[in-house]
Each structure stands twice: as structure tokens, then as C-alpha cells.
């Protein structure tokens, strides 16, 4: 039976690996798009993954300041998503035109 600290250490390293993979997968979605809302959604998800990273780093290092970093990042991510959504809502990009361009090979 391993000690609690060793288990925590191993699980933190495992989580960092898993989070890196998911970060890359989300980046693939950001690049692929195909439409603007898809990218916004992926960026939102990217913020969620980054918050996970910060939480794991906070557990590993024991710095309590990481809590504030995570909350601030969540706030910024939320505001960014809301602003992007307002942009889409105000007709910043013509959806029909964008989808027509997608369909083109």
C-alpha cells in the first residue's frame, strides 16, 4: 500500500498527462472549426482545461494563490464567451455565407 503523498503525486502526473491530451484535442477542434461558434465553444472548453491544469499545479506545489488564478481565469473565460456570443448574435459573421464556404471543397 503506497502512502497518500505518493498516490497524490502519481495521480497528479497522470492528470497532467490526460489534461495535455485533452488540450491538444480541443486545439484540433479550434483549428478545424468549421464555423465561428464551434471555435468559440472550443475556446471555452480550452479555458476549462486550463483551469484543470491550474488546479492540478496548485495541488502539486501547494501554493494557495493558484485558487485565485483559477477563479480569475474562469471569470475572463466566461466574459470572453459572452462577448463572442454577443458578436455572433449581432450578426458579426453571415452564417449562410460561412457555411457555403465550408461546403466548397
Amino acid at each position: 500500500m503506497m502512502s497518500g503523498t505518493a498516490f497524490l503525486n502519481i495521480s497528479a502526473i497522470f492528470a497532467l498527462g490526460v489534461l495535455t491530451i485533452s488540450f491538444l484535442l480541443v486545439v484540433v477542434r479550434v483549428v478545424k472549426g468549421p464555423s465561428l461558434p464551434d471555435r468559440i465553444l472550443a475556446l471555452d472548453m480550452l479555458v476549462a482545461v486550463a483551469i484543470g491544469f491550474i488546479a492540478v499545479l496548485g495541488v502539486r506545489s501547494g501554493f494557495t494563490l493558484y485558487v485565485d488564478v483559477a477563479i480569475a481565469l474562469g471569470l475572463v473565460g466566461f466574459l470572453a464567451t459572452v462577448a463572442f456570443a454577443r458578436f455572433v448574435l449581432s450578426g458579426g459573421i453571415d452564417a449562410k455565407k460561412e457555411e457555403a464556404e465550408e461546403d466548397r471543397p
Binding site: L19, V49, A70, A85, L89, K96
Partner: protein, 124 residues
């Protein structure tokens, strides 16, 4: 003993949270359209990052900071559905279509009616 338990709890939460984040990203890649992807991101993604923050709270142990981390969790639970809802509404009204496999669209009729008497309706 109590310290050890907190470590096990934090470790387990971290692993589960990271796996949920991974599932959300895979869903983001595999699901067919924006609206279904939103399910993956808003549910699994939120649960993932919240679990990891709870792990951070459990690991810190000091009540003031732990409470702050839990306040962060509540904050994420409040904001995630709002941003998902706003993005879905914006995308739908901007005209992004659903996937061809969609079986029902009650909003289409209302949207069509709204478009028909749109100019007069918005003025009044």
C-alpha cells in the same frame, strides 16, 4: 491518518476530473454539430474542472482558502450554463443549422413566424 485520507481523496478527484475533461474534448471532436458538442463541453467539461478545484480545496485543507476554492466551483456552475445557453441562442438565431440527423425542430416554426412579422413586431 487524516492527512493521508485527504491526499487519497484529492488524488482520486484529480484523476476523475481529468478523465471527464478528456471525455469532453473527445466529445468536442466526435460529435456531429455545434449543439451536440455543446452538451459535451458544458456538462463533462464543467464537472471535470469543478472536480479538480474540489480536489485543490481538499488538498489545501485550510478553511479560508478551501472555502474560496468552493466559491470558485459554485461560480463555474453558475456561469457554464449561461455561456452555453447564450452561445446556443446566438448560433441558432445567426442561422447556423443543426446536423442532418436532427429529428425535431420546434424552434424553426416560431423563428419562421417571427421572421415573417419581424419588422412590425420589433417596432411595437
Amino acid at each position: 491518518m487524516i492527512d493521508g485520507a485527504a491526499d487519497y481523496l484529492a488524488g482520486g478527484l484529480i484523476i476523475v476530473g481529468a478523465l471527464f475533461a478528456l471525455v469532453a474534448s473527445v466529445g468536442l471532436l466526435r460529435l456531429p454539430d455545434l449543439y451536440t458538442r455543446m452538451h459535451a463541453a458544458s456538462k463533462a467539461g464543467t464537472v471535470g474542472s469543478c472536480l479538480m478545484l474540489i480536489a485543490l480545496a481538499a488538498h489545501i485543507g485550510e478553511p479560508a482558502t478551501a472555502l474560496r476554492a468552493l466559491a470558485g466551483v459554485v461560480f463555474f456552475l453558475l456561469t457554464a450554463p449561461i455561456s452555453a445557453h447564450l452561445l446556443a441562442k446566438a448560433a441558432y438565431s445567426a442561422g447556423y443549422r443543426m446536423w442532418e440527423g436532427a429529428v425535431s425542430d420546434d424552434l424553426a416554426e416560431t423563428a419562421a413566424v417571427a421572421k415573417k412579422n419581424g419588422p412590425s413586431g420589433t417596432e411595437g
